[in-house]
Amino acid sequence: MAGGEVKLIDLVKQFGDVTAVDGINLQMPAGEFFSMLGPSGCGKTTTLRMIAGFEQPTSGEILLDGEDMAYTPPHKRNVNTVFQSYALFPHLSVFDNVAFGLRRQRASKVEIKQRVGEALGMVQMADYGRRKPSQLSGGQQQRVALARALVLKPAVLLLDEPLGALDAKLRKALQIELKALQQQVGITFIYVTHDQEEALTMSDRIAVMNEGRVEQVAAPRDVYEEPSTTFVADFLGVSNLMAATAHGDSNGRCRVSVGDFDLFAGQGEVGTSGETKIVIRPERIHLESQDSTGENRIPGMVERVVYLGNANQVIVRLAHGEVVQALVQNTGQELHYSQGDPVRVNLPPEALRVLRDTGAAPVADAQAAAPV
């Protein structure tokens, strides 16, 4: 399918005194699965609603294939939306729900029948055409909502937390289906979610948003492994954020002081000097016996061990007072740490990242980030 490139330029939306979206620049190339990820109130849904046409931007441009449609009413835009609560018309059957958009385009009866059939088949709901939405389960309603939007062959499909109301198992199954569907139809998907796992598993690229701004735009692996701001590091997964004093670059690594201990950090802004934050993922921390030696090791004491099933979460208080979480994979052997045990915490330099210490980062990298 040709087309479907969306470009947001300096997009701003204010509700009275509140700035919901504060100057967003994003580019979503045709056919991309793009996610906007952030906590509630970060402006992701407002941005989506502006692309759909339900809200008018205070300023800025929304380009669809190069054409500004910021002030085009929603019924004249070649984008369709899957709503959070599905918004299936309760008084119409599944078939009539899916046919609604085609009837507005004055498609012939034969064409409507064929295309609705195809769309329902695509989401495995072909046998449910005569039912009312209230007779369907949540997952089935979600599929119908998807068929209703896709049947119109839009250039861009907007999805507003479409899996939010489903239980965990169904959500996982639908994530995979949704991604497969996107690859099958090949149109641009713009997906809004606060669930990092959803964003990481499905997206080609993710924009992490906070307080109406874009913090980082990158491929899932990059936002997770190489968060550029403290907010991104903190929001995506569990992170151990520690205050540190950086002493600048030494052979491609940054020497940082944490309390009385000196560490080397090999990732991130290694040239930084002065007060900063360092971060390490729990699964990259190694717990060793207290007599092990070497660089980047800090003594600590086990505070708590939490059994998670596939792993054990070990909470360790470091000698200088900060607390870190370490994730120890469950290999079938019993974990030999318990509360009060002294350990040595190994923070490998290649896993230790120095961050720009700003909650709200400049959005300049949004345009620069190359599509994957």
């Binding site: 759909a52 046409g53 339900f54 009413p73 929603p74 019924h75 004249k76 984008v79 369709n80 939306t81 709503f83 609560s85 918004a87 299936l88 018309f89 309760p90 008084h91 609604f100 958009g101 507005r104 385009q105 009312k132 209230s134 007779q135 209703r148 939007a149 119109l152």
Partner: protein
């Protein structure tokens, strides 16, 4: 109540429980079966319904008495050649006038009220708050005040109207619109904006979204408000009285009032019974339609009766 209490406590005593202990048990666990509340509820229902039932009973009395029972008869409905509801011209006129006013009120007030509700619910900006509040004004204004002001309006200012059927209809419409607005607006808020947005998203112009999506979804509220408008119009007394201009424009409540003050006959009870039945029928019909249309909606099943009952003033 006393009978059952006595037998229960007798049983309880054999088991070693006194009524007092029972009451204490309820106090310590009010979430158990609320027997006392059930008793209070039924006591109230009987208190409220018995007078109506007695009035209805004497409409079938085979004598002129409204207090002493002489056997069953339908003569006060149609049997009596002079004083029955069917044959007394005054009562017949009153009945037809009441039905005429109520029907006209429904036909005029419902569409206007729906339009106003749509406008008020969707209007954001300066003045929308106060107008939403002012919509409640006719509901809380004493009817007598409204009646007097309307009378002055039609006799001093808009003298074209003057008193009579037209003035009565205008008066009824004036206070009925608020009910329609409140009911329909409530439903609009509960269905939210998402269906409209979905319709627009799928290519429906605002008018198509209104007629294909919004109005079908509002149908239960529209039917319910029509039923309630009919019910409150048909038993309105004050405004009908103020704006009436003689025997031709007497309504049933007015006829009952004057008959009761003069020489009451069981035919007065008969026409009152007819009124009760008409009101009941309109409200039951409204409720059935409401339930039919809202069946299957999230949480509608349990709250339908509550929602609907809350609307009736």
């Amino acid at each position: 109540m006393s009978d059952t209490t006595v037998t229960r406590s007798a049983v309880d005593r054999t088991r070693g429980f006194s009524t007092l202990q029972r009451a204490r048990g309820w106090m310590s666990n009010p979430w158990g079966r609320p027997r006392f509340l059930v008793v209070i509820t039924w006591a109230y229902m009987i208190w409220a319904l018995v007078p109506v039932l007695i009035a209805i009973q004497f409409s079938f009395n085979d004598s002129r008495s409204r207090t002493v029972w002489h056997g069953f008869s339908t003569k006060w409905y149609w049997g009596d050649p002079v004083n029955s509801v069917w044959n007394d011209p005054a009562l017949r006129t009153a009945l037809s006038q009441s039905i005429k006013l109520a029907a006209a009120d429904v036909v005029i007030a419902t569409p206007i009220g729906v339009a106003l509700a749509l406008g008020l619910a969707r209007w954001r900006g300066r003045g929308s708050g106060p107008s939403n509040f002012l919509m409640l004004f006719p509901l809380v204004t004493p009817e007598i005040v409204m009646g007097v002001s309307l009378l002055l309006l039609f006799t001093q200012l808009f003298t074209v109207v003057h008193t009579g059927t037209t003035a009565q209809i205008l008066g009824h419409v004036t206070f009925s619109i608020s009910y329609v607005v409140v009911i329909v607006r409530g439903r609009l808020f509960s269905i939210g904006r998402e269906y409209e947005e979905a319709a627009a998203d799928l290519g429906a112009s605002p008018s198509v979204a209104l007629f294909r999506i919004l109005l079908p979804l509002l149908t239960p509220a529209i039917v319910a408000s029509a039923a309630i408008v009919f019910a409150i119009s048909i038993d309105d007394f004050v405004i009908s009285q103020w704006l009436s201009n003689g025997a031709d424009t007497t309504t049933v409540p007015m006829a009952i009032y004057s008959a009761t003050r003069a020489a009451p006959l069981p035919s007065t009870n008969a026409i009152a019974t007819v009124m009760v039945l008409i009101t009941l029928a309109s409200v039951v019909a409204g409720f059935l339609v409401w339930r039919m249309f809202t069946r299957g909606e999230r949480g509608a099943g349990q709250s339908a009766i509550g929602d609907f009952a809350a609307l009736d003033a």
